[in-house]
């Protein structure tokens, strides 16, 4: 396949086909830097993660931002949000959004200086 296709040819499957043409889900409001972590829960209620969702689950065994998930999978953000929304609805991932404290900002300042 690779000898016939390259990135120039465009995706073999149109991104929105991956999510059944949906553009809305519970993942809509996910911030770019919300942190996604796999819960390790077993799928219930007959939900079977698709191949892209399996890729997400293996990627977020350690906390990963929404932006990094989209970048890593090379899929548009909107598509990734729908995929994440499904996983969240079935408790397969948890979403964290820690806010910056004074302590964290001081740590960032020192970390930047040390770069």
């Amino acid at each position: 396949m690779t000898q016939w296709m390259d990135e120039e040819a465009g995706p073999v499957v149109r991104p929105y086909a991956l999510i059944g043409g949906r553009t809305r889900s519970s993942g809509d409001e996910l911030d770019l830097i919300a942190m996604v972590t796999a819960t390790g829960a077993v799928t219930s209620s007959g939900f079977v993660p698709g191949p892209e969702q399996e890729r997400i689950l293996s990627l977020v065994t350690t906390a990963t931002s929404v932006a990094d998930v989209a970048s890593e999978l090379d899929l548009p953000l909107g598509v990734v949000r729908v995929l994440l929304g499904d996983l969240q609805d079935h408790q397969l991932i948890s979403i964290g959004r820690a806010s910056a404290s004074e302590r964290i900002l001081k740590e960032v300042i020192n970390g930047l200086r040390a770069l």
Binding site: P76, E107, G111, L112
Partner: protein
């Protein structure tokens, strides 16, 4: 190292704004690991006459490619740099980008100072802490930071500094200045 259970991963977002060609991407590249991101956005009427939708009139979204930068301070603490889209028709993305942002760097070029007015207006209105970094281009007349502050009619507490975004040390100094400013704003608001 044991961070304990209270140390959940923290990600912070910094915006890099300013007019077209002012050096936003150069700044991000000088200091961080650059990653590509694709977003599909709803075509607004702003795109009429610009985006050619002939034959695909049903098309209501367009792909916007953008880069972002990532700086890992330590495991579980990451700073993300997002450049704001320069073209006016992508203004709708600004709200999403600036949501929860720690602060913004407005890059200015003294030869085209008016280019950064929209960014400054935006962050002032939103209450996002920001600093103005004047990128010193080769061949451009050099001004003092204070002259730029007066020309931009900035509040006295908004930091203004000169920089050369191609240099890593200078880019680092810009980010440190912003985070220090954000910290000041944060502690003042908690008082």
């Amino acid at each position: 190292m044991d961070f304990g259970p209270s140390d959940e991963p923290v990600a912070l977002k910094i915006l890099i704004a300013g007019g077209f060609g002012v050096g936003k991407t150069t700044l991000v590249g000088a200091i961080s690991e650059i990653r590509p991101l694709r977003t599909e956005e709803v075509l607004s009427d702003r795109g009429i006459g610009i985006d050619d939708v002939e034959g695909v009139e049903g098309k209501t979204t367009t792909t916007v490619a953008m880069d972002f930068g990532r700086i890992t301070i330590r495991e579980g603490l990451v700073v993300y740099l997002f450049g704001t889209p320069g073209q006016e028709r992508f203004w709708f993305m600004w709200d999403e980008l600036s949501y929860g942002a720690l602060g913004a760097v407005v890059l200015a070029d003294t030869r085209r100072l008016t280019d950064c007015f929209p960014s400054i207006d935006y962050f002032e209105q939103r209450g996002t802490p920001f600093i103005v970094a004047v990128n010193c281009f080769d061949g451009a007349e050099q001004y003092e930071a204070e002259d730029v502050r007066i020309a931009l009619d900035l509040d006295p507490d908004v930091p203004v500094l000169l920089c050369d975004v191609r240099r890593r040390a200078s880019a680092k100094n810009v980010l440190v200045t912003l985070v220090e400013h954000s910290l000041k704003v944060l502690t003042a608001s908690q008082r």
